[in-house]
């Protein structure tokens, strides 16, 4: 299967695949990304609960949290005490389970290779929620719909930087063509390794991984589990024949539903 998700999804003449490289080694845990995202996308407040999980009161990604900064205290880390911070986001997978299981076509692959929810199409079935290997997407109680990071689809279509990346004070969140980001990440990784930061590693970037490579990938300073990330995520719909059957039946159901609604509309 092509590694060019936009072409695979019917965009003949499309822009380069765009993504995020989140370099957690320079994250200062300020959470500007969380706020900038909410301000731009109108995402509602997600609960006022003190978790006791260091300075992380956001807890996880979900319908009303599209950027989430994790805080991990490692004061006993050999050599120097550490306080790891990392801004998590939708991975915009090359092989996206959410997209595969959506029965209504609400989940959409864009011409930038990103994955977005079409709010006007989503019927709130929740299939996508279960299908995401990262627990990114969620259903919002207030409107019943599924929501997640759009990689600021509206902004990048106009050549603007996504809100989180634009706000990020230390360029921990970098936005750009995925190819460029991969090169940059590799260079940064080498710099860190040369500096003796042994645990530094890229996460999600490898096109050979279980999601065909992420459109939003990370440089971590420790193992993914430390950050609450699955170490070896696999797209939940990897069994292709089954998936095809599923898509076919979904398409048929969609056709039938559309016909009915179309008739109703005419009446």
């Amino acid at each position: 299967m092509s590694l060019d998700p936009a072409a695979r999804s019917g965009y003949a003449d499309h822009p380069p695949r765009m993504g995020f490289f989140t370099d957690t080694s320079v994250c200062i845990g300020c959470k500007a990304c969380e706020v900038a995202c909410k301000e731009w996308n109108g995402v509602p407040e997600d609960g006022l609960e003190l978790t006791g999980m260091s300075y992380d009161n956001t807890q996880s990604l979900g319908a009303s949290t599209w950027r989430h900064v994790a805080f991990i205290e490692q004061i006993d880390h050999p050599g120097q005490p550490r306080w790891l911070m990392a801004s998590d986001v939708c991975k915009h997978c090359t092989e996206a389970g959410c997209l595969d299981v959506c029965p209504t076509g609400a989940l959409l692959r864009t011409e930038f290779g990103t994955v977005v929810v079409q709010d006007d199409v989503c019927n709130g079935c929740g299939n996508c929620v279960a299908a995401c290997p990262f627990g990114v997407i969620g259903r919002r109680e207030t409107d019943g719909g599924a929501h997640k990071c759009t990689l600021c689809y509206d902004r990048i279509g106009d050549g603007l930087t996504p809100a989180c990346a634009k706000a990020c004070p230390t360029e921990s969140i970098q936005f750009g063509p995925l190819d460029e980001l991969r090169d940059r990440a590799q260079a940064r990784l080498e710099t860190l390794h040369e500096a003796g930061v042994a645990g530094a590693q890229l996460y999600g970037e490898d096109p050979g991984n279980g999601i065909g490579g992420a459109g939003a990938f990370f440089l971590l300073l420790d193992e993914p589990e430390v950050y609450g990330l699955p170490p070896d995520p696999v797209v939940t719909t990897r069994d292709l024949p089954r998936m095809w059957r599923h898509v076919a039946s979904a398409a048929a159901a969609l056709a039938a539903a559309a016909l009915i609604s179309g008739l109703g509309g005419r009446a």
Partner: protein, 187 residues
Amino acid sequence: MADRAWLRWPVARQLTGPDKLGRGAATRSRRTDSIAPRIRGADRVVKSVCPYCAVGCAQQVYVRDEQVIQIEGDPDSPVSRGRLCPKGSASLQLTTGAAREYRVRYRRPFGTDWEDLDLEAAMDMIADRVIESRRKGWQQEVDGKPVRRTLGFASLGGATLDNEENYLIKKLFTALGAIQIENQARI
């Protein structure tokens, strides 16, 4: 147009177009096709400065129909290079959010609740109160030395205000003889 509208129908697009899986081009809704950043429609972009701390990050304020619709960092700034912290990023909520009060509120002496009060009336009452407190706290001399001042009223605040505002406050209150004029710089 109407007779070709069916071509927009996702299933038709999926069956007739290159997006055989129905996960991309074929499933796009009309709204998705017309998506645009809300600042594209801004009537003007106004240059501003973040009101929180004293780093002085530059902001761009987007206005449409005389409403602020978005506030972002200004990439031109040699101080902030377009970036904002969480507080600066919350400037839109600060300035347009539900917590802002837009009406004068008045609590009369010994009152148990707020009352409404017209702004003009409030200004007039405050002017009277200043004159009266000034008079009550007036000191022409202290220990035989002329001081020509009042201890009758005080002011606290200024670090969140503009230079021009502080200037008028200091000028007016000093001319009235007030000396208890202070702000967060002391705190």
